[in-house]
């Protein structure tokens, strides 16, 4: 079976990561922001898997760790978003600027 070249896999990973990062910068909805971050984490997972054939099988093991951590983060993050929503009836981060300067 033809293996996907490392460069291509990494390129895809970097692209996904960049999309996620830019999403965090430009989007205003807290939930979408959070999804962008998840996208970044998954880009990293892709990179781990891509490195795996060369650097050892741990790469694939790490993915499971990352998924677990991301799940925990998701649980806490969504709870925080709900808590914020209760105050402002909104998840638009533009509305959250009590704290500045």
């Amino acid at each position: 079976m033809q293996q996907i070249p490392l460069e291509q896999a990494l390129g895809l990973s970097a692209l996904l990561f960049a999309i996620g990062a830019f999403g965090v910068v430009i989007r205003r909805n807290a939930i979408i922001l959070f999804m962008c971050i998840e996208l970044m984490l998954n880009a990293v997972n892709l990179a781990f898997v891509a490195f795996s054939p060369r650097s050892g099988v741990q790469g694939q093991v790490f993915v499971f760790f990352v998924i677990a951590v991301a799940a925990a983060e998701a649980a806490v993050g969504l709870a925080i978003i709900i808590s914020v929503f209760r105050h402002k009836e909104s998840v638009d981060i533009k509305n959250f600027s009590l704290l500045r300067w």
């Binding site: 970044m40 891509a50 925990a72 808590s83 914020v84």
Partner: protein, 520 residues
């Protein structure tokens, strides 16, 4: 340590044998069980009623921390002969573990009374603090990048919750959201950095990375490694709050309940710095040519920028947040200074910094009231005259933060400066001195306001104060801050020995130069 030896602790650990992890992770195990115990006890107390937790919970929490500290002493004199253990077994870890425990204990102590007044006296708070402490210990003591990442998350996730713990306060929730989004964002970078390093070197084990870089063999993935180092640096820079990755800090510190702010600015920062030292000063030591200039700029910009912005703050809590950013700059100088003296100065300073910062936040708590946080400068007017003990203690903490003689902060800065000059970072030393010169202004301004401005009204400060336990903790912090100046040699000797142990990793590849060759 014959006590632990009698319990069957081996003299030399070999982490290739899984059973030896029990001893290597003894403090973490005790802490985890303790945190669960706190949760369970709280639940049993309350049943399904919604009411404040009992006063015994913080006491139990402190007991768990004390037990962990005791377990931590089991690590004294231990060493690990294996090549690829997941946790480090060295004096550096023991020392930093104590720092986190002190930070957590001070956080719990000053939270007494505060939580009740804010109506958030819940056992979860204490359990979360303990879990965050566990994360710190894992992060600071790890010898593997993946382990560092997991420690980071174990530490951060409880902190996200703690920042938003005061759910009724929109500021707290907002701070929590910001911290969470940006924290997750930055840990994405950190993780990506780990992945790239893993790809370049073929392992996430710090010792292995150090040896690989030390042998100088061209692994053919120079760029990959560089990018990985850069992104790792970003992740750590975020956690230690170095400019320009600091912008969450003032908001999160400001919005969080004050005891949590104290923990964030002490324990979290210490853990992030410990990981910083292990990853950069040890594992990436031989790539110093690449990362040292970058961190140099980070340190310089952090010291200057944070102090300048701190000048303009009207809120004492926010001022302390910027002060904490500035201190990250000072600690980066210690990190850059290389060698044992630099690391020893780092350890000494992190200890002094933890005590004085937590103490200062204790005074901020003492000045708060039931519903309101009195944190503006005007709120402190006349405090020194009406509450002489609080005023004196706050003065000592602020002077120590500024680095005034007769306090631990002075000695700490002196050690850092010495290490910096000896390590060839004289320019940074100059910047440090100039930056802390600026810092005197905003620290002393608080003291001036406390003693030379009249209070807003008669009896304005009548309600200021702390419950007995918190008062004892603040007083102890005060004593330590002063004692560390007069008996500074004692902790410094301990710090030096701990720093030495950082390098004494077993080196199976005999030919490899010392990991720290760059710094010697």
């Amino acid at each position: 340590m014959s006590f632990f030896a009698a319990l069957g602790r081996p003299e030399v650990l070999d982490l290739a044998r899984q059973t030896h992890y029990f001893w290597a992770l003894l403090p973490e195990i005790v802490l985890t069980l303790g945190a669960m115990l706190v949760l369970i006890v709280d639940v049993i107390h309350k049943g399904d009623r919604s009411e404040p937790s009992r006063g015994s919970i913080p006491v139990l929490t402190l007991a768990v921390l004390a037990a962990t500290a005791l377990a931590n002493t089991a690590l004294f004199g231990l060493r690990d002969v294996s090549a690829n253990g997941m946790v480090a077994v060295d004096g550096f870890r023991t020392f930093t573990n104590f720092v986190y425990l002190v930070a957590a204990a001070l956080c719990i102590a000053i939270s007494m009374g505060y939580l009740e007044r804010r109506g958030i006296m819940k056992g979860e708070f204490h359990a979360l603090v303990l879990f965050a402490t566990l994360g710190m210990m894992l992060m600071g003591g790890s010898r593997d990048l993946i382990m560092t990442f997991i420690g980071l998350e174990v530490m951060s996730v409880p902190i996200y919750v703690l920042v938003g713990f005061d759910r009724m306060d929109p500021r707290s929730s907002e701070a929590s959201l910001k911290y969470f989004l940006l924290g997750a964002f930055s840990s994405g970078f950190f993780l990506y950095g780990i992945a790239l390093v893993f790809g370049a070197v073929g392992s996430t084990n710090l010792t292995y990375i150090a040896e690989t870089l030390g042998t100088g063999t061209d692994h053919g993935h120079e760029r990959l490694l560089m990018a990985g180092m850069a992104l790792t640096l970003v992740g750590l820079g975020f956690k230690v709050a170095a400019i320009p990755f600091h912008m969450w800090t003032p908001d999160a510190y400001d919005g969080a309940p004050t005891p949590v702010t104290a923990l964030m600015s002490t324990g979290v920062k210490a853990a992030a710095f410990a990981a910083f030292v292990r990853i950069f000063a040890v594992a990436f030591a031989d790539a110093g040519a690449q990362w040292v200039p970058v961190v140099w700029w980070l340190a310089a910009v952090t010291m200057v920028g944070a102090n300048l912005v701190a000048l303009t703050q009207g809120s004492v809590k926010r001022m302390l947040a910027y002060s904490s950013i500035a201190h990250a700059g000072y600690l980066l100088v210690a990190l850059l200074s290389g060698g044992d003296t630099g690391k020893a100065a780092f350890l000494f300073y992190i200890l002094a910094y933890t005590v004085m910062t937590a103490g200062a936040f204790g005074i901020v708590i003492a000045n708060s009231r039931d519903g309101e946080e009195r944190v503006t400068l005007e709120d402190y007017a006349g405090l020194g005259l009406e509450k002489p003990w609080l005023g004196a203690a706050f003065s000592i903490f602020l002077l120590s933060l500024a680095g005034f003689p007769l306090t631990a902060g002075f000695l700490g800065k002196l050690y850092i400066l010495r290490a910096a000059v000896e390590g060839g970072q004289a320019q940074l030393a100059v910047i440090l001195v100039l930056a802390s010169l600026v810092s005197y202004f905003y620290y002393l301004r608080v003291i001036v306001v406390m003693y030379m401005r009249p209070a807003r009204s008669e009896g304005w400060h009548a309600g200021a104060g702390l419950p007995l336990a918190a008062r004892t903790a603040v007083l102890a912090a005060c004593v330590v801050v002063v004692a560390m100046f007069f008996a500074g040699a004692v902790p410094m000797r301990w710090a030096e020995q701990s720093a030495l142990s950082l390098w004494r990793q077993p080196a199976p590849v005999a030919a490899s130069p010392a990991p720290a060759s760059l710094f010697r």
